[in-house]
């Protein structure tokens, strides 16, 4: 079954996907940090058992997995696919994961909070993600009474999540905007509206592939719909600015612009070795080309799906044997050669 990130996105948009996360806690237990090992196991067991029928809610197939039953490689691959976060993967005590077959829905049990519901969907759809999370949330709260306070709303381990427990995010591709000198001040300006923007794939201050995530900073004192609206507005604004810059570049230097896109496509199509950084950057150029119509692919495709696929743990899980650095770069090139969409000349 195709995963959500492999589905084609909205054409002609720099918005890649939307993500909603709800943090909840069961009032029968202290927060995870203060639970005994016994309690952790019991909590996950009881939650897992009580939510066995959750698939009936929307006809989706789910699997349940204990975190300690997962290999390190599988956990890292799940992080790369954004199904879990690093802090959850490092959990020493008992923890569980309920994951839908398409990985659109994940429910992390006993991470930083007892329950974290996450929904991801292609395109600018934070509200429909929220509606799905909302329904799952109701299903869970019918079975497990949440910690809820008249003043503070849903009580969470971190007071920075308290209230709605909602983190709404939209991930945008900003290759031109992020290259501008004024990008940091733009990011800071957006912060004043209550959003936070950060790079998605990267290490040590680098962000390969120019993907940025816009999220709400505040969780208390605004309704879920208001929070989602703010994030959505910021994402639309960034998309518009990015579009304008792409158009300007295309008009001012059409040859240079097209050359960058086609060269990148050519390298991805024929290279025999690709580092993660290079592959991400070339995919980013190809993504731009597809969005602004320079590259016409045969049928719909998901460049973002390729960006996920070439992350190291995903490549390693596909390989039948352990790979060294050079073999990994070769596997990455193979992966892309086989999957890069055909283009119409």
């Amino acid at each position: 079954m195709a995963k959500w990130y492999e589905m084609p996105g909205e054409p002609a948009s720099n918005v890649i996907y939307s993500r909603i996360r709800l943090a909840r806690n069961w009032r029968d237990y202290p927060f995870p940090e203060k639970m005994t090992a016994e309690q952790c196991k019991e909590l996950v067991d009881r939650l897992g058992a009580g939510l066995r029928g959750i698939g009936a809610l929307d006809g989706t197939k789910y699997r349940f997995a204990w975190l300690d039953g997962m290999a390190e490689l599988e956990k890292t691959a799940l992080i790369e696919r954004r199904a879990i976060n690093r802090s959850f993967s490092k959990k020493k005590e008992a923890a569980g994961l309920i994951l839908s077959e398409d990985e659109r829905v994940s429910i992390a049990l006993n991470g930083d909070d007892h329950i974290r519901i996450q929904i991801m969907e292609k395109g600018l759809n934070p509200l429909s993600c929220y509606e799905r999370a909302d329904a799952l949330d109701d299903y869970i709260s019918d079975r497990f009474a949440y910690s809820f306070d008249e003043k503070y709303g849903y009580l969470t381990a971190f007071p920075t999540n308290v209230g709605t427990g909602l983190r709404a995010s939209v991930i945008v591709h900003l290759p031109f905007l992020s290259r501008r000198k004024n990008f940091p001040s733009l990011v800071a300006d957006m912060g004043r509206f209550g959003t936070l923007i950060r790079g998605v794939y990267g290490e040590g201050g680098e962000n390969f592939g120019s993907l940025y995530q816009v999220s709400n900073q505040k969780t208390l004192g605004q309704t879920e719909q208001e929070i989602i609206e703010i994030v959505k507005k910021t994402a639309v604004e960034l998309d518009n600015q990015e579009r304008r810059l792409q158009k300007e570049a295309q008009e001012a230097r059409p040859l240079a612009h097209a050359d960058e896109v086609y060269k990148s496509y050519g390298i991805l199509k024929y290279a025999r070795r690709l580092t993660r950084k290079d592959a991400m950057e070339f995919l980013s150029h190809v993504m731009t080309g597809v969005v602004n119509g320079i590259l016409k692919t045969d049928g719909a495709c998901s460049i973002y799906g390729l960006m996920v696929g070439i992350q190291p743990a995903n490549l390693l899980s596909m390989a039948e044997k352990p790979l060294n650095k050079e073999e990994l770069d070769a596997a990455r090139a193979d992966f892309l050669r086989a999957r890069l969409p055909k283009i119409r000349q």
Partner: protein
């Protein structure tokens, strides 16, 4: 002012960082800020959210300035989290911590969140705890059992809705959004009418 990092370009970006109670102001050019800013966001994200560190920072700063260190040993009777522990990792140990530490940190939560009252969704089964389903079955047969959806959307009572509207009204006035404030006021008036008619209010 020149950028403190490269010392060649004009500083155009200013940001304040609070770590462990120490507040530092940085003046950077947009070029240098780019590497600093974005990198910082990525690094912080792993540990949940920058606001978390900021909260710990603010509290630590107050501790140093106003001698609130005497609160260090205040502890939650339920989970034994101390104020000191909270200042260190911005994390509560149990739901009770919120009421225990509210007098000490309520103002800071308000500062960071821009509000002190929840106005969004509420759990459906707020009153009675639902029976736990599937107890004793374990997680083995996961996903195999279809269940009927328990329907029963519990409407908030009018008094609770008035409370929520009040908070939103306050927030609207603070934002100087008078149009929304007027709409909220009307809605509240209507609700109060309803309450009167229902004879719920004294």
């Amino acid at each position: 002012m020149l950028c403190e990092h490269c010392k060649t370009r004009e500083a155009t970006v200013k940001y304040v960082e609070v770590i462990n109670g120490v507040k530092t102001e940085h003046n950077l050019c947009s070029h240098c800020a780019r590497s600093v800013d974005i990198g910082q966001y990525s690094a912080l994200f792993e540990g949940e959210f920058p606001l978390g560190r900021l909260l710990a920072g603010l509290l630590g700063m107050q501790n140093a300035e106003s001698g609130t260190a005497r609160y260090d040993s205040v502890a939650c009777p339920n989970c034994h989290t101390t104020y000191k522990e909270f200042v260190q990792n911005s994390r509560f140990g149990c739901p009770d911590c919120y009421s225990v530490f509210d007098p000490l940190i309520g103002e800071n939560i308000k500062k960071l969140q821009g509000s002190e009252r929840h106005v969004g969704k509420r759990p459906k089964n707020l009153q009675g705890q639902a029976d736990e389903v599937g107890k004793g079955h374990g997680t083995a047969g996961f996903g195999s059992e279809a269940e009927n959806e328990a329907e029963g959307f519990q409407k908030l009572d009018a008094k609770e809705r008035v409370l929520i509207l009040q908070a939103r009204l306050k927030e609207a006035l603070r934002r100087e959004d008078y149009e929304q404030a007027a709409a909220l006021r009307d809605e509240m008036r209507g609700l109060k009418e309803e309450i009167k008619q229902d004879g719920e209010m004294v």
